[in-house]
């Protein structure tokens, strides 16, 4: 759609701009403020320059070591999540029924985990995976596998990953389903006439048509897994030891647990900048895909 140039449109955007600026910029300035100061309590602050940042970005210091450990852990987690949820989501979307009452049933059941408060998700899995009263933990233990997510770090990781797959794969599936639904029948009929195999149909028709929604899916899943907090916090509390202490958990520990405001603020800013950078890459790719599509359609 060709848009007209009209600077008065700013008046329509102004309320949103004001409200989001109030709830984003003001708090962010507080963070910046804390990040360059030190305090000895009593609400007295001293200028500390880039001291916190230097400590944070130096892996040999205690704070830096802790930060980079949590960062790698979070990146690894996001990578595993994407590697499992994207292919699984596509598979589930391809398996969706096309018509009849089962469509509505599948949609509602699939969306259900998305609507559960995140700490309840943690609670559900905390109970479900327990060896004594949880179905999953009990069954796995009775299969002869020594499984205990509060004791072994590998078990804790597996449990958190399965929980996240349970929680969010439906999002990817629903996005892909929306993409698949937009493919006109004529495409399939043409493929049929050409005698295309199932794989060829997927590679040349379905996957390209899903490119746009897949991009959104990857973006949302990456961002949300990169800032995951509540579910692992409820399930493992970051343990055993520090095995599942992701960046958000570490940050909240630092800010609200130890009230180490300067360090926490510096960490917040670096964390935010990482997200901003990744977000920008995705946004650029997405706008380019849109531009390509418009050129093709025009």
């Amino acid at each position: 759609m060709n848009k007209t140039l009209n600077h008065k449109a700013w008046f329509l955007v102004l309320p949103v701009f004001a409200l989001v600026a109030f709830s984003a910029v003001v708090p962010l300035m507080t963070v910046v403020n804390y990040s360059v100061q030190d305090t000895f309590g009593n609400n007295q602050f001293f200028w500390n320059g880039v001291g916190w940042f230097a400590e944070l970005l130096d892996p040999s210091r205690e704070l830096g070591g802790r930060f980079f450990d949590a960062l790698w852990r979070t990146l690894l987690f996001s990578a595993i999540i994407l590697a499992i949820e994207i292919p699984l989501g596509i598979a589930v979307a391809l398996a969706m029924p096309r018509e009849g009452w089962t469509v509505a049933l599948c949609l509602v059941l699939m969306a259900l985990p998305l609507l559960i408060p995140w700490n309840v998700v943690g609670t559900i899995w905390q109970v479900f995976a327990r060896g004594d009263i949880g179905l999953l933990g009990w069954v796995v233990n009775h299969l002869g596998i020594d499984y205990n997510y509060t004791g072994h770090s590998l078990d804790a990781w597996v449990t958190i990953i399965v929980m996240d797959v349970w929680h969010w794969t439906s999002l990817v599936a629903l996005l892909c389903y929306a993409g698949l639904k937009s493919i006109p029948d004529a495409y399939y009929q043409a493929a049929r006439i050409d005698g295309a195999s199932r794989w060829a149909v997927f590679r040349t028709i379905q996957l390209p048509k899903m490119r746009r929604v897949l991009l959104i899916a990857v973006l949302l899943r990456f961002m949300d897994s990169f800032m995951i907090y509540t579910e692992p916090f409820v399930l493992t509390g970051g343990g055993p030891g520090n095995a599942t202490t992701f960046l958000s958990i570490d940050l909240v520990k630092l800010a609200l647990g130890q009230f180490d405001l300067g360090k926490a603020a510096a960490m917040s800013i670096v964390y935010n900048l990482i997200i901003l950078a990744i977000c920008w890459v995705f946004y650029t790719v997405m706008t380019n895909v849109d531009a390509d599509r418009e050129r093709v359609e025009a």
Binding site: T4, V20, F22, V31, L107, L115, R212, M227, Y229, T287
Partner: protein, 292 residues
Amino acid sequence: MTDTVAIGASRAKDTPAAVNRAVAGPRVNGKVVVMTLYLLFLMLPIYWLVNMSLKTNLEITSGLTLWPREITFDNYIRIFTDESWYSGYINSLTYVVINTVLSITFALPAAYAFSRYHFLGDKHLFFWLLTNRMAPPAVFALPFFNLYSAIGLFDTPWAVALAHCLFNIPLAVWILEGFMSGVPREIDETAAIDGYSFPRFFIKIFMPLIASGIGVAAFFCFMFSWVELLLARTLTTVNAKPIAATMTRTVSASGMDWGMLAAAGVLTIVPGALVIWFVRNYIAKGFALGRV
């Protein structure tokens, strides 16, 4: 009859039903297996939660039973009769509804501007809004605490509702913009020629056209405000405490009250399940943010 991939070209003149029965049979079974397994995986933990909520604590801790031997509704009755429990639900629903109304009201004109006009800094502004959807709540927990304490909103539903606007308004703008871009410009122009003023056109003509988009956007605002807990818990102590935070009360001196925990968990799923039902036909398009 959209499911036509495997159907041989020679059968094109057969009746649709016959074709489906004859050819699609074995392939549909494969799909059904995948789908059934996936739904089973999704439902198992929920089934376990419901199962536990209907048991007594004695039965829960004394061994694994696949269904309650003696069904008890005591856990639910206690939640509905104890004010400190059910007020949690009222608090949660209050800030969720305030947030949804605020987000949609503010996002509608902005989304219209983004979908219809170019203006100074529009791309940058859109990107900036998007980054707020992606900002980790953990970063904002402490500053929000300071901010809302300073302006006297701490421990009110308004604090949580405003805080959730941070990620819900950008999302609402994004979804609504997608839906609005699907409405042809000619409608705007025709309305202007017919003498409609802009506000009248927007409310009388434009909003009914994107009604499904508004519904989907409201659903997503509801959803993300309902499931978020970190900010909601940080910004409340007593008066506006959300139900999801009240649940931690079940850890008491006498050990975990598993039955209560499970019952409270089941009740937090119900509102979500109800709203999904209303938007089920648009949900897929909504998850694609109106852009398919």
